[in-house]
Symmetry: C2
Subunit: 223 residues, 2 copies
Amino acid sequence: LIHLSAITRRFTVGDETVQALRGLDLSIAQGEYIAIMGPSGSGKSTLLNVLGLLDQPDSGHYLLDGRDVTGLDDDARALARREKIGFVFQSFHLVPRLSARENIELPMVLAGIDPAERTARVEVLLRDYGLTPRADHRPNQLSGGQCQRVAIARAMAMRPSLILADEPTGNLDRHTGQDVIALLEGLQAAGATLIIVTHDPELGRRAHRQLHMVDGEIVQDGR
Amino acid sequence: LIHLSAITRRFTVGDETVQALRGLDLSIAQGEYIAIMGPSGSGKSTLLNVLGLLDQPDSGHYLLDGRDVTGLDDDARALARREKIGFVFQSFHLVPRLSARENIELPMVLAGIDPAERTARVEVLLRDYGLTPRADHRPNQLSGGQCQRVAIARAMAMRPSLILADEPTGNLDRHTGQDVIALLEGLQAAGATLIIVTHDPELGRRAHRQLHMVDGEIVQDGR
Ligand SMILES: Nc1ncnc2c1ncn2[C@@H]1O[C@H](COP(=O)(O)OP(=O)(O)OP(=O)(O)O)[C@@H](O)[C@H]1O
Ligand SMILES: Nc1ncnc2c1ncn2[C@@H]1O[C@H](COP(=O)(O)OP(=O)(O)OP(=O)(O)O)[C@@H](O)[C@H]1O
Ligand SMILES: [Mg+2]
Ligand SMILES: [Mg+2]
């Protein structure tokens, strides 16, 4: 499904350059369940953003489903994302003036999904993520963990075949976190590729394969 | 130091009322080390916001250092906060157009601290929290865990006697999280009151006292 070869990503701040990804290679088959772990600042979110077509590498190539997506323009990348990728951001990126329900529905609205189908799907997602009593609350009327769950539910609305989740349980208690992971693992068991960035070693162990990053490189890749 | 009696906090959304804190009583002595735990949505951040004078209860009383702070106006609350309270927000609330260094310095600028003293203090904080190489980066040029550490460093800039930290290790790997907790525990050992909301049971166990919340109430309070 995914082939990254010699992926480099640099950021420049003033006259300093940060080597966020250093010539990284990675292959992932459809349906894999992978945890990405490593110290704060090691490049995990940057790698996930490249995988999710939210960021372009400075050099190297990204083959997604046999197609070179490295050089795509913004519109083509947005289309590829919308159709196959569900992305959960580390800082959620919810729309402040929309309710939880409206935030979750938004990808379906943009994709032109039939309103009756949209309504049915959002109610299932609200229920699955324990958000039904908070469906009409806006993000500033939600707890941190409720916002996190809205971000996850939104990412699942289009039934993506590639799920990229950046620290999806960081603001959740153990029990709620387990419920959320069970839902994501259910989607993976049904065929989705699940890639989770996590600082939780217990969650990392549940994955079938673990990547460890340090300073822009994958230093360990094992099962 | 802290006496909360019959503290109630409600939120209204449409014609629904959320009982975020339900007639809560709590006493905390100066210098205590307390963990607040409980399910997502149970009222932990709301309680911390009341303790930090960022939110006012609908009923009940808050005595802080023997003074009834429940009815204070905004200016009086801001002054009380600036002088004694260091607050770490669950969602950081950094100033987007300021660098990490400037964000950390901001409370000292507002308090009129001498520039030479400010510079000395911010360099120590940048070093302690592993941020020196990122001092000139703005929040959108920092990783999630780097943003979290800037938020913590900023809260410590005025050497507060009451530290309120809302999930301070949620975006940190184990090692970085341990470094951060060691710094906060050092301040508590030197006399500060340390109150941490956390979803991490291991961090909760390090505290000398644990409060467990469910649905707006403290259901357990033990050592
Ligand atoms: N401004 C608001 N308006 C309406 N409801 C609110 C508001 N702020 C919080 N709530 C609700 O009050 C309850 C308590 O929220 P709080 O943020 O204190 O929870 P929490 O224990 O910190 O949760 P988490 O672990 O997810 O951060 C939640 O159910 C939330 O939806
Ligand atoms: N836009 C940017 N400009 C400059 N530097 C950046 C930018 N984005 C990220 N960085 C830097 O690149 C490095 C990798 O960032 P990244 O967000 O990928 O880390 P991470 O592994 O996700 O960390 P965390 O666990 O703290 O979330 C960090 O040191 C960060 O400061
Ligand atoms: Mg990150
Ligand atoms: Mg909270």
